[in-house]
Amino acid sequence: MKINFLKKYYYGDIPEDKAGGNNTEHQGSNNDWPLWEVFIRSKQGLDHKHVGSLHAADAAMAIENARDVYTRRAEGVSLWVVESKHIHASDAQEADSLYEPAMDKIYRHPTFYELPDEVGHM
């Protein structure tokens, strides 16, 4: 039985040697620029949301490419780019046990409590 809840994984669970760009610094056989994940805030007041990824040599180029690739129709007012190798994710195989504790605490939800109608909106 595996008990490690969180493991260090690259986005997409891609092994490092195949991650397409993460090895640029080593000048290995893989010459792709690093992979970046792109997040867009569609308008002021909303969160940044992941929209996809792209390759770029550095952060400035990643922002410029993200503008061209992901915001050709005014999709956003703000961009974040994060190099994919810096994103750590929870293990999909462990999702059941990882999120299970949230499911059995129904008393965390307001609908758990039955109050008299006279209380009104609460």
Binding site: D13, I14, A19, N31, W33, L35, G52, A57, D58, Y70
Partner: protein, 313 residues
């Protein structure tokens, strides 16, 4: 192991999207890499026939529109490459496979664009056929692919409408323009029907792809939708579809059409179409001629990084 595979199929059946880090059968991964990278290559190679007319567009308005459309195709290619990369395929590998001829792209782009009307016909017919396929793929079982398709479909309808708009303008123009319009339709009609791929009775991949919900409609179903749709639209243009056997089938409540030249289809797939060599050569040249840009950008990024390190030290 069987248990994991059954769990995977159950998720697919329950319409739960498969995400990159979920377990998936190796064949599912391979099928998707092949299909998504092919799709990406088609967007990229698809820029070439249209790009040929950017400098020759008949007005500044048409030129600006065509530029925007070709830029969209580049964007679509990039969405799809990044979706394929989530399956563990590197970008470089995909590009290499395209350039070596190992990976295929849609054969439609191996036909030449001889007149301005061809740009209209591509928008109406080629993008029209692609949209039917892509609308279906918005519901494909693999999450990153489905999300890329949603984004693409949002942008694609502009492509089809601008194409129809070009043809409509020609159809209402001078006698020469009308001839040009009909000629483009004549040349693009059959290759467009071929875009949906071999008949269901001869397609080996369709069944498994349907079971995995990668595809949701068969080649023949999509082709039928396309024909029925175009028969209506060509009337608006006042033009004809070049098929004497095309007629309404009252019993089926669908159109019947003539036999596709499958020999031509396989010839073009195998590399013997009118422009196969030219297209691949253009891609390879673009890649080779861009090498210094890639190297310079990487060198610059490294230099900046070193500078930062020095400052921190």
């Amino acid at each position: 192991m069987e248990n994991v595979e059954q769990k995977f199929q159950d998720s697919v059946n329950a319409e739960i999207k498969i995400e990159p880090r979920n377990w998936m059968p190796e064949a599912y991964r391979k099928t998707l890499i092949r299909q998504i990278s092919q799709h990406a290559h088609s967007e990229i190679v698809g820029m070439l026939p249209e790009g040929a007319w950017i400098t020759r567009a008949p007005s500044l308005k048409r030129k600006a529109i065509l530029l925007a459309k070709v830029q969209d195709e580049a964007g679509h290619g990039l969405y799809l490459y990044s979706a394929a990369e989530t399956l563990g395929q590197s970008r470089e590998q995909m590009i290499n496979d395209l350039h070596s001829g190992k990976a295929k792209y849609s054969s439609i782009f191996n036909y030449p664009t001889k007149s301005w009307a061809d740009i209209g016909a591509i928008g109406w017919l080629v993008d029209g056929a692609a949209i039917l396929n892509q609308v279906m793929l918005c519901r494909t079982s693999y999450g990153p692919y489905a999300r890329a398709m949603v984004r693409i479909c949002k942008e694609e309808s502009f492509h089809q409408r601008q194409g129809f708009d070009i043809l409509l303008t020609l159809a209402n123009g001078t006698p020469e323009q009308k001839i040009m319009c009909q000629d483009a339709i004549n040349r693009w009609w059959w290759p467009s029907l071929m875009m949906f791929g071999p008949k269901d009775s001869e397609s080996s991949n369709s069944d498994q792809s349907m079971k995995w919900k990668i595809k949701r409609k068969s080649n023949d179903e999509l082709r039928q939708n396309f024909v029925d749709m175009c028969v209506q639209q060509v009337k608006v243009l006042g033009m004809n579809l070049p098929d004497p056997d095309l007629k309404w089938n009252e019993a089926k409540q669908q159109h019947d059409w003539g036999e596709i030249d499958w020999n031509e289809f396989w010839q073009v797939v195998k590399g013997n179409g009118p422009c196969n060599k030219e297209r691949l050569e253009a891609r390879r040249n673009a890649w080779d001629n861009g090498a210094w840009v890639r190297e310079a950008a990487a060198a610059h990024a490294q230099k900046q990084k070193d500078k930062q390190k020095q400052q921190a030290a």
